[in-house]
Symmetry: C2
Subunit: 403 residues, 2 copies
């Protein structure tokens, strides 16, 4: 498997574009993105579990009932959520795209991200559609920019891999960066691949993968109303169609996981106001579920997040978060380590503090990527969760987001 350029346009038959159409006031910010497949693609999505669901998700779910899509239209700057006429707006946005691309109306995935509860004006989208479609090309980065909200970094990746001697490609883009605490589905992530795969196996691959990837990311504990992960597989690589589990499916899962883990880390590291990517690795849990509970609980703890911002080896907060995680653990068996590119330090053994150099700990925790490792000593369950530190800037960004 190789990491390659091209993002969501790396796979055969996919083009994309992103423009500023006028939803945002700032003209230097793109606010409309389009992804297009030359041929209809097997497609599926996973959605937020928030009972308050953005209108675009409801429309997309309907459109994907037949498991086929050919384009994604997505705006930023307005979430089209909690609006009385949200469904109409999402349907109309979708129609603009299907008309302009001459594809079937229900083959469009529609998404919106931004502020909740403000009416989305369709005029700029209508007016921008011609430029958006005519400019379609190898423009993954433009599309990635078009879906950004408070993200500070563009998030895209692609990999090539082989299935039965045939080269296949898969790529993805994502937006973070606040209101992120996935539950069953999350964030805005679009993945494209030219793999030939049945819609059933595609859904299976996505649903399995997100349990260990996007559902293990938390920025701020808030599960968004709007976010989803969509994948389109147009089959243009020409591999023998994947219709069941086996070596080919495993290869595809591996490539998919490379893309999703990369995007998870990017989303977590670019959390609102974040200065550090935090990774919590839990091993030795009674079950995988227990490991997941502990790792997510640590990653979500405001106190732990603030301590990491201050490069403070306050491991008591790690143990505290493990203790209230709901996992079945024996606190007297827990060892805790902090690690980064500067080394690894053991700070807690069998649930009690050990002497360690505060200076070394500070050096390790001053790096931009921190791993906190908990060895529970109680079984074989393992899990990893990703998050970010809690900073002044998180408060600043969210203290007055709407203005």
């Amino acid at each position: 498997m190789n990491i390659i350029d091209g993002g969501i346009c790396a796979a055969e038959g996919f083009t994309a574009n992103g423009i500023h159409c006028g939803i945002r006031k700032n003209k230097s910010k793109k606010d409309l993105a389009l992804i297009y497949s030359e041929v209809p693609a097997a497609s599926c999505s996973v959605y937020t579990t928030n009972l308050v669901k953005g209108a675009p998700l409801i429309v997309t779910k309907k459109h994907l009932e037949n498991g086929v899509a050919q384009a994604v239209i997505c705006n930023s700057g307005n979430a089209n959520t909690c609006n009385a006429d949200g469904i109409f707006i999402a349907e109309t946005m979708s129609e603009y795209a299907s008309d302009a691309l001459s594809i079937k109306a229900d083959d469009v995935i529609v998404a919106s991200t931004g502020v909740i509860g403000q009416k989305l004006d369709l005029t700029p989208i209508k007016n921008g559609m011609k430029e958006l479609c005519s400019g379609l090309g190898n423009k993954s980065a433009d599309a990635a920019e078009g879906i950004m909200t408070t993200d500070t970094a563009l998030k895209e990746i692609a990999v090539s891999f082989e299935i039965g001697g045939t080269t296949c490609k898969i790529g993805g883009i994502a937006k973070g960066s606040g209101m992120i605490h996935p539950n069953m589905a999350t964030m805005l992530v679009f993945i494209t691949t030219d793999v030939n795969i049945s819609r059933e196996m595609l859904q299976k691959a996505l649903s399995t993968d997100i349990q260990k990837t996007f559902n293990m990311v938390s920025i701020d504990g808030d599960t968004s109303t709007n976010d989803m992960v969509s994948i389109m597989a147009n089959g243009m690589a020409g591999n023998k169609k994947i219709t069941e589990e086996g070596a080919d499916f495993a290869e595809f899962m591996k490539a998919l996981n490379t893309v999703t883990v990369y995007l998870c880390r990017k989303i977590a590291g670019d959390g609102e106001g974040a200065t550090k990517l935090l990774e919590c690795v839990v091993t030795g849990a009674k079950t995988e579920q227990d490991a997941k509970k502990v790792s997510k609980s640590v990653i979500c703890s405001s106190l732990f997040k603030a301590a990491m911002f201050g490069a403070d080896a306050n491991w008591g907060r790690v143990l505290c978060a493990a203790g209230y995680s709901g996992a079945d653990i024996d606190v007297n068996k827990i060892d805790v380590y902090f690690a980064s590119s500067k080394g690894t330090i053991n700070v807690c053994k069998d649930g009690a503090g050990v002497d360690f150099s505060e200076e070394t700990a500070k050096e390790i925790l001053s790096e931009p990527e921190i791993i906190v490792k908990l060895e529970l000593g109680d079984g074989q369950g393992e899990a990893t969760a990703w998050g970010c530190d809690l900073t002044y800037d998180y408060v600043k960004i969210n203290g007055d987001y709407r203005t």
Copy 2:
């Protein structure tokens, strides 16, 4: 019922004291508190549900097996948690107090609060015990100071009320102010009363009350390892002993609730770094449990908390938090209001935005006490939760708490 002076010394037979003994480096900060009842008192506690429990809680639980206590000893500056010899330290602390006061060893409630995982040196406590005991008096405020950590305000209250023509008193002190997300029991709260009541009814009163009070407070979503609510009832008011439900028990519950709600509001408003007390009132829920889920979810949302810091009427975040609360709600029936001493404003009706004056909203949200009200329009369930805004100072305080 009248609010009176005296705090935990208001009830007959109770004295208290608080001193600086040397656990904290800062000599101007008290770090040891004592509460004493002239006679043994019916007593019970509720404890954190965190699996990582502070050693003092384990010792207190053992001491309260017989339902009797006569004193509380509590230090701040060190939580005596996650230490290999924590139980020994807590037992020894307790013995210092029972020896000095000539009371039974197991009639002492022992508590500690502060940093986790650092060994608690008993020497300053031993050396301070004489000063602490000889200075016992009408010193509720000194004791309240002795249990403070990052609290900025002293938290004490007392009320007098009548039971069957007999005047009774109840008072309490509390400490907040971070790692606060009670679950079954929480924080450090000591309540004293001279009411004559059986230990069974006392436990019933406390366990019932905390469900609607301390368990509805959240500062930062972190459930502490150390916190508890203890009550001592020494019977010195001389009322006819309360041994069953009825008018007398109801009167006592009402007085207890006045004390606990007051302390909840104080704890929430003095959350780490907080500039505002937030109160979330939910009405019209299918059940009380649904109302509780919604109100706690809103109060815990980092995004909502940051918006309140910025006086930003971002009601979409309120709806979002209701949506992921796990409560059984119909989002299309929800009305949202913001209120303070400056007035009330309706910002959302039937789950969609309504036109409102941003200027008026800003004025309302700039007050130090904010109420966000959700009318769910779906039943009779009601609940109130308390919290605080998320500010730069929360991050500052917790970015380097240990130094």
